[in-house]
Symmetry: C2
């Protein structure tokens, strides 16, 4: 986010070397606000402003810049400055940054970072993308079980500067095994002599470090936690995922779902920042797949070429009939995919969904079929009377169109509602049953439905 309101003032302060003013700008506002105000400065100007704040605040502000600005700052910042900043940054933020940087640049910077931080970075970098490990931070507060509430608060005071979250304190046993947690609220409310073991919550809900970040988000949303402990396969605490990172996960996952639904491979870059070649690859891949699938509409239509030559007017209603299936299918697929993402539906519910969508598809089909009937019935005489069209009356045409529209609408609804459940069942992302995918599938089959119905009436009359 760029907020250019203060830019001229900040530039003036830089020109006048107004250290006091710059210190105030950098330290008295929320780091996110400082980032918004200085996003528009050049790399050199930005570093000059940052230099006025203590290193910890510099690191905070830095992590609120856009990805592209962060990368520019790294390149224009010099190794000494950047390695000091990396040591100060929150573990999850700095790993996010390092993942995006050029590998050579990272190998250039890392040797200058203190050993403890360097090890932390290597560990966090090793977790696969989209795992809990990839979004967690290692700066949590922890205490043993055998101390008192008063002593716990004293220890917390020491840990606070290095902990991202001090409102949940994790109680660890031997070898960092997670025994439970206690909230700062409970510590404050308890008498100082109460042992931590009496206060702590033992039914602790945690996630495994290799679990999907989406599962973390779902659990956090369900249990309303401020942070969620992340453990390894043996139950040792390795990190925590905090509330603010969960919001980012929820937003990212929604973006992924939306992109899949729109028929493109998920993109995590900013629209204006992404490279042309990578966007082209992601967009053309699905468009080409859909195009190749859509080639079958030609194959299907070719089967009815003789019928079309006899009654050309039938071909004029093809787009109307098949788009009905595409639209009703998209609608159903969207509804079911989202309901699954929200945990309202599981593949086991397919029978309830089928009954529901059967009734809904019929109701929607009747609605659209009625509209279609009147439109076809009102076909102007000169269109009907064109040379090829001697075999059909307006009424017959109206019946063909309304029946086809109703049948294709029902078919689209059923396909759109069942495909996401089938995909989920088979272990694919239900989002692949996206609107364009369903629409393409229903286009081809819709042609067969339409001309089968038409053939019956044409043969009959």
């Amino acid at each position: 986010m760029v907020n250019p309101i203060l830019l001229p003032e900040i530039r003036l302060m830089l020109a006048e070397q107004d250290s006091q003013g710059l210190l105030e700008v950098a330290t008295e506002l929320h780091p996110a606000t400082v980032a918004d105000f200085t996003e528009g400065l050049s790399v050199d100007e930005t570093w000059q402003v940052l230099a006025h704040a203590p290193l910890a605040i510099q690191a905070d502000i830095f992590s609120y810049y856009s990805n592209s600005k962060q990368e520019e700052l790294v390149e224009g910042g010099g190794r000494q400055r950047m390695s000091a900043l990396l040591e100060e940054m929150a573990p999850d933020n700095r790993v996010d940054l390092l993942k995006r940087l050029d590998e050579r640049l990272v190998e250039d910077l890392l040797p200058l970072v203190a050993k403890a931080e360097r090890q932390d970075i290597r560990t966090l970098l090793s977790y696969p993308e989209h795992s809990s490990g990839s979004v967690m931070t290692t700066e949590y507060a922890s205490i043993p079980a055998d101390i008192s509430a008063g002593e716990a608060i004293s220890r917390l005071r020491i840990q606070a500067p290095n902990s991202e979250m001090i409102y949940y304190i994790y109680v660890l046993g031997d070898d960092r095994h997670l025994l439970g947690f206690v909230s700062l609220r409970d510590l404050i409310l308890a008498r100082p002599t109460t042992p931590v073991s009496d206060l702590m919550e033992r039914d602790v809900i945690s996630v495994r470090v290799d679990e999907d970040q989406e599962d973390v988000a779902k659990k956090m949303a369900r249990y309303d936690f401020l942070a969620m402990p992340v453990v390894d396969t043996t139950g040792r605490l390795v990190g925590i995922v905090t509330h603010d990172d969960v919001i980012d996960v929820v937003v990212d996952e929604a973006t992924e779902d939306v992109h899949r639904m729109g028929g493109l491979m998920p993109m995590d870059e900013d629209y204006l920042e992404a490279s042309f070649a990578s966007v082209w690859r992601k967009r053309s891949f699905w468009l080409s797949c859909l195009f190749i699938a859509e080639l079958f509409t030609f194959t299907a239509l070719a089967k009815y070429e003789t019928l079309i030559e006899k009654v050309v007017i039938l071909s004029l209603f093809v787009p109307l009939c098949i788009s009905t299936g595409g639209n009703s299918g998209s609608q159903a697929a969207t509804l079911i995919t989202r309901a699954m993402a929200l945990g309202q539906l599981r593949p086991q519910d397919w029978w309830r969904v089928l009954r529901h969508e059967l009734a809904m598809g019929l109701a929607l089909g009747l609605t659209l079929g009625s509209i279609g009937f009147f439109r076809a019935w009102l076909t102007p005489a000169h269109v009907l009377a064109a040379p090829g069209n001697t075999d059909i009356t307006a009424t017959a045409l109206a019946i063909i169109i309304s029946l086809s529209v109703a049948a294709i609408c029902l078919w689209g609804t059923l396909v759109g509602s069942m495909l996401p459940l089938v995909f989920k069942r088979l272990g694919f992302d239900p989002g692949f049953a996206s609107s364009p995918f369903v629409a393409t599938f229903v286009d081809v089959t819709g042609i067969v439905i339409y001309f089968t119905i038409a053939q019956i009436f044409v043969d009959f009359t």
Copy 2:
């Protein structure tokens, strides 16, 4: 979420009147877990289990049940029990519940609720849906500015039982005007004699009670707060929105966007719980609009009836050509709508988007056009040689198809990328430029593009 693992055990405890066991179930697990385990019980059984826990825990568990279960419990719970529970529930949760209940039932319950809570309920009920006021809670912790850190902690101990969030404490002046806030972290770290006025953050970021909940969510996500203060027009603190409610808002807003994109009016009910009539209305409205718009494909095709009669094979490629526009349009619309929702794009950026999509549309058009060329070129001789098709060669057909596909793909990309920006500019939700909407629009115009190109070639040869 239903978790049936413990159901038989809980039923056994109820049959054996095992009060100790039921007390443990109800109090030692996370309230959300208790709700999951007991969701499958009957209304009477559920109330029997709940009765073993203190009222505060009952209220917690209650708020984790699904909407339909909550409503059943209210109806089967009796007025006395429910009014006591309502007094204990978190203000935001109980208002959510009351909004969903039958009005007569609410008017029946409210007189039994204590006066202070009743007033709180009426105030919260008065805020419009989707406003900050509608998602906030009134149970926050507050202190005056002129006390010490030590005294602040003592006061916090008293307020804690009635505060949803005690990690941010709001500093209020005369008449509840918001002066700043201090975190419990800072209070704990400070010397007990330090005045609150020295510790507090004065640059406090707040939202107005009538602001959209989406703005609250965006600010919380940007600033990583645990809670956000909500003020009235004169700057008085009226409530706070907490981190857990923001996750719900983010999820709800994503659902709304996804539904709009899929061509249906946003639905906030659970898929399996929503009433048939209301779902039919929401689905048939958009489907009918799209169907009526799609009728113009017939009107457009009718204009080219003579050409089709002459070269019937042209009609066999109509679905392929127009679906290309629909797919490329959906893709572009999805990308741009999501980028705007994420704040990466604003309508002012239209020029950059247009240049970008012009290049992308050409690249995608060339890709699909090449595939189309070869497919049309390979049209079997017997399809080409059908009686009506004496006028066209496979090469001419291949050129017509590839040019049309490329042009329509470009056109779809441009329409799909520009419409959301135009809608946003005009003050509509850009989501209305959904995949089906764009696809329908491009279907009609795609027909015109295709037959214009075809006409030129047919006239020429």
